[in-house]
Amino acid sequence: MDRPGIYEILTDIFRDIFDDPGIEVHPALSSRDLEVWDSFNHINMMVATEMAFGVKFKASEVEGLKNVGELVNLIETKLALQPG
């Protein structure tokens, strides 16, 4: 999957989890920018992302990300490691 494809799926997830149809997902977006992005919704978003891409995040990965750009890099790395 290419980057724009990943962003497209993430946009759907963010709008759904954070309950805001107006969210634009971009690499610099972080929890500082969205009031609803608290520790609870963060986990929901990460789990929804896992389901959507068929990957699994480790504990340190769940908390170590700084912004959406790093999340996209992580997804890319995980997808590249998958067989097929």
Partner: protein, 526 residues
């Protein structure tokens, strides 16, 4: 050796700092690191020389397991490593409590073992568990035992935190700049240390007797008179904040003298307008640890299961109570109950944790279900409401702290009887009330309360203060206007003012610290 003693401030600290940079200046930074680690171990063994062996065993064990995990991740080895740490902590900290609970439930009378609680064990165990998980996940790697010892045993943060991640500290110890004495870092470090020392010996130690008179009466089986109970309760809230945030400031300041930046542990917690906000500002590094290693894993598991089963998730637009209890209430209560037990082995700590869990859950429920209520919309952004919320949060935190401060549940209950005014005044005839004679509330206590409240609600915190000195607008936060003000006065910098201020509070703190017997920090017992 306590940070507030003569031997630490006048003997240990200058020798260690000077020795470190002297050795490093002749070009041997490796030897300087040895010097720092050995000094730290000496610092630890000052209390009880035999316990150093437990610390060393823990260091060697976790270093070896961490190394093996980073070379070849294995869930089995990770469980073994974390389990061994928890077993050691359990043996030293919880075996007495465990026997008491068994005795109570089964009606037995097994003798309760008295095992000494090794200093700092709760802190160094947590820090090393985090390290093992990160090594397993490939998030960090350490193959040098000396650096590992510096990460865990670095004396500024060994005893009572801040609890740090390996990756945020170790890079700093590997940088060559760390081994060159830097006047700015040393100046800032001394400033933070002075602020912390002042908080501890001038503020916290002045609230301590006011809290002690109320809690002392409660320990003897009396319900303190209502005004004593309330004054005592609020005095303890201020005491523990100034004590522990003072300790944290001193730790951060000491580390800065060596050019090491530790994370901040407090950010004006009593300015919080909700319990959720309070936990993002109080003992921040512990909250971070519990969020990462207890709350997140539980919630991740629950969410994965729910999503895979196609069940609804919690949405602000359509929240359901059922989902709320499974996904928010349960993980929050479990995490805070564990936090309570981490602080101490006893029912009073468990109740303190459960109360905070409950308050957090209520706070979350209010956010979710109270959304869109007409009154709430009308009051949004109201300044008076914010002030009311701050007072409400402070009072709620203080009420829960009654359990935290008490040695057992009975003592806490006596305090609550006093807070509710449930005792006849006639009980307090002179001599009856454990030696405390009326009037119970002294007028001379009023100024210290006013000073305490002014500091917690009206002044910048030490983190913002540091930002002001460094001219860092982001760190200075809402106090950035002070920087703008000084920009307008050409040639004037806050440094001069800062120098006078720090000198004054350092002098006050040292006179007090050296003039009286040093008191221990509250968090040393955890």
């Amino acid at each position: 050796m306590l940070f507030n003693t003569f031997e630490f401030i006048i003997v240990f600290l200058p020798i260690v700092v000077a020795g470190f940079f002297l050795i490093a200046s002749v070009g041997n930074s490796r030897l300087a690191l040895y010097w720092l680690v050995c000094s730290s171990l000496f610092f630890y063994s000052w209390w009880n020389p035999t316990l150093i062996f437990l610390l060393l065993a823990s260091l060697i064990f976790n270093f070896r397991v961490g190394l093996a995990l980073s070379r070849k991740p294995s869930r089995g080895l990770l469980f073994f490593g974390v389990g061994t740490n928890l077993l050691a902590l359990g043996w030293f900290k919880y075996s007495g409590f465990f026997v008491e609970v068994v005795n109570m439930l089964a009606g037995l009378a097994i003798p309760v073992p008295h095992i000494i609680l090794p200093l700092a064990i709760s802190f160094y165990t947590f820090q090393q568990i985090a390290y093992l998980v990160e090594s397993h996940d490939g998030a960090t790697k350490e193959d040098d035992f000396l650096s590992y010892c510096a990460f865990i045993a670095f004396f500024p943060q060994l005893i009572a935190g801040p609890i740090v991640h390996h990756r945020e500290i170790i890079e700093q110890f590997k940088k060559p700049e760390t081994y060159v004495a830097n006047s700015l870092s040393i100046g800032l470090g001394i400033s933070m240390f002075a602020i912390g020392l002042f908080k501890k010996v001038v503020l916290a130690d002045n609230f301590s007797p006011i809290a002690a008179s109320a809690f002392g009466a409660a320990a003897e089986g009396w319900a303190p008179p209502i005004e004593v109970a309330w004054a005592g309760m609020f005095a303890f809230s201020l005491q523990i904040y100034f004590d522990f945030s003072g300790y944290s400031d001193m730790a951060i300041g000491l580390a800065l003298m060596f050019g090491i930046r530790l994370p901040f542990n407090f950010a004006s917690p009593y300015k919080s307008a909700s319990i959720i906000e309070f936990w993002s500002r109080w003992h921040i590094t512990l909250t971070r640890f519990l969020t990462n290693y207890v709350y997140n894993p539980i919630l991740t598991r629950l969410s994965r299961r729910r999503m895979a089963a196609g069940k609804p998730m919690l949405r602000r637009s359509a929240p359901s109570w059922n989902t709320f209890f499974v996904l928010l209430f349960a993980p929050t209560i479990i995490t805070m109950a564990l936090s309570g037990l981490w602080h101490g082995a006893g029912f009073q700590f468990l109740i303190w944790g459960l109360l905070h869990g409950l308050m957090l859950a209520i706070n979350h429920a209010w956010r979710l279900f109270g959304n869109g209520l007409p009154l709430r919309e009308r009051l949004r952004g109201n300044r008076l409401l914010r002030m009311f919320s701050v007072l409400l949060t402070f009072t709620a935190v203080s009420l829960a702290l009654v359990f935290f401060k008490s040695a057992d549940v009975d003592q806490a209950m006596n305090m609550f009887r006093g807070l509710l005014g449930l005792t006849a005044r006639a009980e307090y005839e002179p001599g009856l009330f454990g030696g405390y004679a009326p009037p119970f509330l002294k007028r001379s206590d009023v100024p210290i309360f006013l000073v305490g409240f002014f500091i917690i609600w009206c002044l910048p915190n030490s983190q913002q203060w540091l930002g002001l000195i460094e001219g860092d607008r982001e760190k200075a936060g809402r106090w950035a206007w002070v920087l703008a003000f000084f920009d307008g006065l050409r040639g004037w910098r806050p440094t001069m003012l800062h120098g006078f201020f720090i000198g004054a509070i350092m002098a006050a703190a040292l006179i007090r610290a050296f003039g009286e017997a040093a008191t221990e920090f509250l968090y040393f017992t955890f």
